[in-house]
């Protein structure tokens, strides 16, 4: 079983190495081929590759938006400045905490929901639609609604909390320094767990039914079946979901931009909020580019590290 599973090629992000069907003969037609790829090549070069190179270059300068002063090469100054800036450090720590909590928790919940809706019971289609609804309505809408649910005076969450604790418990939620980030985490999981659920559900449904029948015949308990059949079968989808959720965690922006703008006192600040704050509000392009480069390194580094760990586990 495990041997079969490990022979399945690893998922999407492996890109080039992915298994390829027998190669069709390719036409030799340089002219028409260039015509086909040219629009994409130009757009990618101008709007992705060039800006990325410019970001790296400007991060070593003091460039400002619409400034009459000449651009000056400042070496590593911007990097030194942001990495010693308590605001940015807190933003970075918030991103890491958010990722460390959300990635395992949201993946586990997504798997639980996927298992729940992968049953043949009445109303299961409605449940699937319900869990997926927050994804459909979008994060801006969800943030607006949850901001009201979090209201410390009259919000629904405090209402529920008081009801469950006979009036003893209540929280400042987004306004409390200790609860603000957890509040953002709760809201984020609610609004995007449906996405991961759908991916894992598709993987669950691809596990061959006869494997379960064979396992059941051998007297495997449901838990043994999950470990021996389900888990190897959905492993690639799980790895993909982990990577995707990690990248989303470092991109944390929309929810905090709408609900908190980083308040209270930077407790929900994130790297991308800082990017907008420094680059747009303060117009310090050079310094914002240094933030962009650090952000890029973290996204790629964490996703890579995680894939490496998951791969080690398997062998």
């Amino acid at each position: 079983m495990t041997a079969t599973a490990s022979r399945i090629p690893s998922d999407a992000l492996d890109g080039v190495q992915a298994v390829q069907p027998p190669r069709p003969r390719r036409q030799r037609s340089t002219g028409i081929a260039l015509l086909f790829v040219l629009p994409a090549v130009i757009l990618l070069a101008v709007f992705l590759l060039a800006p990325f190179c410019i970001a790296v270059y400007l991060s070593f300068t003091n460039e400002r938006l619409a400034s009459p002063l000449p651009r000056v090469w400042v070496g590593w100054h911007n990097y030194h400045a942001i990495l010693t800036d308590p605001r940015f450090r807190q933003a970075l720590i918030n991103n890491v905490v958010f990722a460390v909590v959300v990635v395992p928790l949201q993946t586990a919940l997504a798997l639980a929901l996927a298992v729940l809706v992968n049953r043949r019971v009445r109303g299961v289609a409605l449940l699937r639609a319900l869990f997926f609804a927050p994804v459909v309505m979008g994060i801006a809408v969800a943030s607006t609604v949850w901001y009201l649910l979090f209201d410390p005076e009259q919000g629904m969450l405090n209402g529920v909390l008081k009801l469950l604790s006979w009036g003893h418990l209540h929280s400042g939620w987004l306004t409390s320094t200790s609860m603000a980030l957890p509040s953002v985490i709760i809201m984020s999981i609610w609004s995007s767990v449906g996405l991961q659920m759908v991916i894992l559900l598709a993987a669950l449904q691809d596990v061959p039914t006869d494997l379960y029948e064979a396992a059941a015949l051998d007297g495997a308990t449901p838990w043994q079946q999950f470990r021996a059949v389900t888990f190897p079968g959905i492993r690639n989808a799980l790895v993909f979901v982990l990577t995707m959720t990690t990248i989303f965690a470092f991109r944390l922006f929309d929810q905090v931009y709408i609900m908190t703008s980083g308040r209270p006192r930077g407790h929900t600040n994130t790297m991308l909020l800082e990017l907008v704050q420094v680059g747009y509000e303060r117009q310090q392009i050079g310094r914002a580019c240094a933030i962009a480069v650090v952000f890029f390194v973290f996204v790629v580094g964490f996703a890579g590290l995680q894939r490496w760990i998951v791969r080690e586990d398997a062998s």
């Binding site: 998922d11 999407a12 890109g15 080039v16 992915a18 069907p21 069709p24 036409q27 037609s29 340089t30 086909f36 790829v37 629009p39 994409a40 090549v41 757009l43 990618l44 709007f47 992705l48 590759l49 990325f52 970001a55 400007l58 938006l65 929901l113 992968n118 049953r119 043949r120 699937r128 869990f131 609804a133 459909v136 979008g138 994060i139 801006a140 809408v141 607006t144 609604v145 901001y147 649910l149 629904m156 209402g159 008081k162 609610w190 759908v198 991916i199 559900l201 598709a202 669950l204 379960y212 990248i247 922006f253 929309d254 931009y257 990017l275 747009y280 392009i285 580019c289 933030i291 890029f296």
Partner: protein, 282 residues
């Protein structure tokens, strides 16, 4: 959604039932609160939200929706979002499918290099280039233009790769037969390959629409005029414009969510398949 029967025994599972009910309540309560609140006078939205009244539209009316359309300029924002997202989707389908097709079917110098570049660029998040793009576009006079909101999102390495994989997975015989019959490569692409690749077009179209429709960071950087403002930024702005009325805000976000829900209900199967497919083959 998929109707393939799940491999489950028919016996009762109390744990699963309880978990389903709890999860359903957690997911339904905010949604109900939003929809019911949209019909209420603004002062009652929060006042009612700690009791069962949160889910009961007392004194309900359509007043808030009218206000949302007037004060939040909902129709203008909707128009802008439709212009931006449909242009991103249409342009993206053409540009990315052509590039993916060339990578799958043509031989040309630099093909290998381009493929490596596409895979490498797929790693760069858009947010990492947002500030230099803001800097460049400010120089070009592109601030507050639809072009700035559309053009950067047309070519997408991930979608190019998706198209390439799909074209590789369909047999080339039909295309070769058409070529033997004298059809040029452009014609073969349009009349043979594109119709065969309809699932890939649906997937890329839906994924591109979802992400374009939700984009908030880029419009927040590059626009500050309502004439080109899209819905997510419109929500963020309207929430903080006094006089704040929670009923009108909720009516506004309900209206803002409607187009996506409509799309979801019309294309439910495709919608789910597209999202799920990103995890399976990407």
């Amino acid at each position: 959604m998929s109707t393939r029967p799940a491999p489950r025994r028919g016996r009762r599972e109390p744990v699963a039932t309880v978990a389903s009910v709890v999860a359903a309540v957690v997911f339904a309560a905010p949604l109900l609160f939003m929809v019911v609140g949209a019909f209420k006078p603004g002062s009652r939205v929060l006042a009612d939200s700690t009791s069962w009244r949160a889910f009961w539209p007392e004194d309900g009316s359509l007043h808030n929706f009218g206000q949302a359309i007037d004060r939040a300029q909902f129709l203008l924002l909707l128009r802008n979002s439709l212009i931006v997202s449909s242009s991103v989707v249409a342009g993206g389908l053409v540009v990315n499918s052509m590039a993916g097709y060339a990578l799958a079917r043509f031989r040309f110098p630099g093909r290998r290099l381009l493929l490596v570049a596409v895979v490498a660029l797929a790693v760069v998040p858009f947010q990492a280039v947002a500030i230099p793009l803001l800097y460049l576009m400010s120089g070009w006079g592109w601030r507050n233009t639809f072009a700035a909101l559309i053009v950067p999102f047309i070519a997408n390495p991930f979608y190019i790769y998706l198209f390439r994989s799909f074209f590789l997975s369909i047999p080339a015989e039909l295309e070769e037969a058409a070529r033997v019959d004298g059809a040029g490569p452009g014609r073969v692409f349009v009349s043979i390959a594109v119709p065969l690749a309809r699932p890939a077009f649906a997937t890329v179209g839906i994924l591109a629409f979802i992400s374009s429709w939700a984009e908030l960071l880029w419009p927040a950087l590059i626009t500050d005029r309502v004439e080109v403002r899209t819905l997510p930024l419109g929500i963020s702005v309207f929430r903080s414009v006094p006089p704040i009325d929670q009923g009108i805000i909720l009516a506004f976000v309900v209206l803002a969510a409607l187009p996506m829900f409509a799309l979801f209900f019309v294309l439910q199967r495709q919608f789910i398949a597209s999202v799920a497919r990103t995890g399976i083959r990407g």
